[in-house]
């Protein structure tokens, strides 16, 4: 295995829909899944200065087919995206889908098979097809969402024997972190509050985010003068897996994202400068996701090392980082594994505001899985979308002052596909 790309690869266009609920969110209410996807695809193609007929192949990602009900996604969506008669495939890598798609596209282009590939991802985790209607949708219950989502987790032994995402991804990792670094549960709770504040601040600055209300404003709206009292309220923010609380978790969303992957020398003529896809790493495993130490995940270690090696970067080169933060504490552990944050210092960095867009270790400036929201197979593309905006200086009020030259995006495809993508300015 060479672990190298034979051609320089660029992302020449990115697109992303508003994230939210197709039944109630402004800008989304009443939108079909076809039109939702087309919106993200059109933005990416326009950005690259192309039409759907200019690409050679389409990699269409969708994980939870139960709610979307569009298998054969590439063909069913072809007339909505202008891409018919192209090569296509429907694939999924759960919550890493779109970035695994970018890696597959990079391989196809670097191999010389295609010049340009459109990758898109769509997902509806809040709504599903109503009865047999071609356009009406209805809400998905909490339990139904997890039953369908957990089909991506060990169906022989894990899920049937009481596996629970909240404990495994949040509570047990939190306790492992506290024990390893001698942090008190009270300090942990305060740090999670500060981290949530940062995520919600970023969401409040992003018109595409699922939640655009700051944590402080929500607390005030609920009658709390001190937002930390709101945070500690069992009614508003219960423990879902002690010591982790509800507001340290993902919020579900419907959404779509897209990107155009091409040879770097062809990435001209778009609206905005292209960004180089310098490297990627993918490593997967089944439960248990970690050994005795819940802060160390072997597949993430391997994905990070592989991606950094391919891209030729070191931890000190990272200017912007997103780690998968369905669980805020596991996202911090991964950030420490990349070397962007010091081991055991991630939560202190969060408390000191260093992870904000205006801090010295900016992370997840779109709002992360909590504030931007999470539409499984579409989400990795939104993380890439945000990194590309930041690197071009197009992130508006949440723009990082010194435009990042190297960005690292990590995602966890349930369960688990550790995926790391390294982007660089051209």
């Amino acid at each position: 295995m060479t672990g190298k790309l034979r051609e320089r690869i660029a992302i020449s266009g990115v697109g992303c829909s508003r994230f939210g609920d197709l039944l109630e969110t402004p800008e989304l209410k009443g939108t079909s899944i076809q039109e939702l996807t087309a919106r993200a695809v059109k933005e990416a193609l326009d950005d690259a200065g192309l039409t759907g007929q200019d690409v050679d192949a389409v990699f269409a990602g969708n994980a939870m087919v139960h709610s979307s009900q569009v298998p054969g996604t590439y063909s069913q969506l072809s007339k909505w995206t202008g891409t018919q008669f192209k090569a296509g495939v429907h694939f999924e890598a759960q919550c890493s889908t779109t970035n695994v798609g970018a890696a597959l596209a990079a391989m196809a282009v670097a191999a010389g098979v295609y010049d340009t590939v459109l990758v898109y991802g769509l997902e509806t985790t809040r709504t599903k097809v109503k009865d047999f209607s071609p356009y009406e949708r209805e809400p998905v219950s909490h339990q139904q969402t997890w039953l369908w989502t957990d089909m991506a987790v060990n169906q022989a032994y894990g899920v049937p024997q009481g596996y629970d995402i909240f404990s495994t991804y949040n509570g047990l990792v939190a306790l492992g972190y506290c024990r390893k670094y001698g942090m008190s549960i009270e300090d942990f709770d305060r740090s999670m509050f500060e981290l949530c504040k940062t995520r919600r601040l970023h969401g409040s600055m992003n018109p595409k985010a699922n939640i655009q209300e700051k944590l402080e404003d929500r607390a005030k709206r609920e009658g709390f003068s001190d937002p930390f009292d709101y945070w500690r309220s069992d009614e508003h923010n219960p423990f879902v897996a002690w010591p982790s609380r509800l507001l340290s978790l993902v919020t579900t969303a419907d959404g779509a994202s897209a990107m155009v992957i091409t040879r770097a020398d062809l990435a001209k003529g778009g609206k905005s400068p292209p960004v180089e896809l310098k490297g990627f790493g993918i490593s997967y495993s089944d439960l248990p996701w970690y050994g005795e130490d819940p802060t160390y995940w072997e597949f993430d270690r391997r994905a990070i090392d592989t991606a950094f090696e391919m891209a030729g970067i070191k931890p000190a080169d990272i200017d912007y980082l997103h780690t998968h933060d369905c669980s805020h504490i596991s996202g911090i552990c991964t950030a420490e594994a990349t070397g962007y944050l010091e081991p055991g210092e991630g939560l202190n960095a969060a408390r000191d505001g260093r992870l904000r867009f205006d801090g010295d270790r900016p992370m997840s400036t779109h709002g992360g899985r909590h504030a931007f929201g999470h539409a499984w197979g579409a989400s990795a593309g939104t993380d890439t979308y945000e990194a590309v905006l930041q690197m071009r200086g197009q992130a508006g009020p949440r723009q990082i002052k010194k435009q990042p030259e190297i960005s690292v995006i990590h995602t966890h495809g349930y369960a688990m596909i550790g995926t790391v993508v390294v982007l660089g300015s051209i």
Binding site: G162, F166, L172, C178, A241, S244
Partner: protein, 139 residues
């Protein structure tokens, strides 16, 4: 009536063992590693040269959290919220499973966290439709 004989299944055998209080795993003849619960090959080195073994059921609870009600899976609605633990088996593998013998409350879980690792013994929790592996705190 069908005359077709059933093929062996590691999954069915595991659950049948569980209903009798037997904890089935495999060990690898190449690297000596355990795979638990059992599959058809070694999870460490990928060898197919594996043999069935029974585990002692002795274990250590490293960490314990809990979950919410209603449970993510309808099978566990009756017992949710329940305690879910990070466990090291005497034979070496790391396992996560339902923990019995402690209340799923922040107070009880905090007390348990502060006292550090404690010994566990495996038992079978009979749900309506399936036996489930659980570990009870040895007092």
């Amino acid at each position: 009536m069908s005359t077709v004989s059933e093929q062996p299944s590691a999954i069915r055998s595991y659950y049948e063992g569980l209903s009798e209080g037997v904890f089935r795993a495999i060990t690898c003849k190449v690297c000596g590693g355990y795979t638990f619960p059992p599959t058809g090959c070694c999870e460490t080195c990928g060898s197919w040269d594996v043999i069935p073994v029974e585990l002692s059921g002795d274990a250590t609870l490293l960490l314990a959290s809990h979950n919410i009600s209603p449970a993510c899976h309808p099978r566990f609605e009756k017992i949710a919220p329940y305690v879910y633990g990070h466990i090291r088996l005497k034979e070496g593998p790391i396992v996560q499973a339902i923990i019995l013998g402690v209340d799923p409350t922040p107070q009880a879980l905090k007390a348990l966290f502060e006292c550090g690792p404690v010994p566990l013994k495996a038992e079978t929790l009979q749900m309506d439709d399936l036996p489930v592996l659980a570990y009870r705190i040895v007092s």
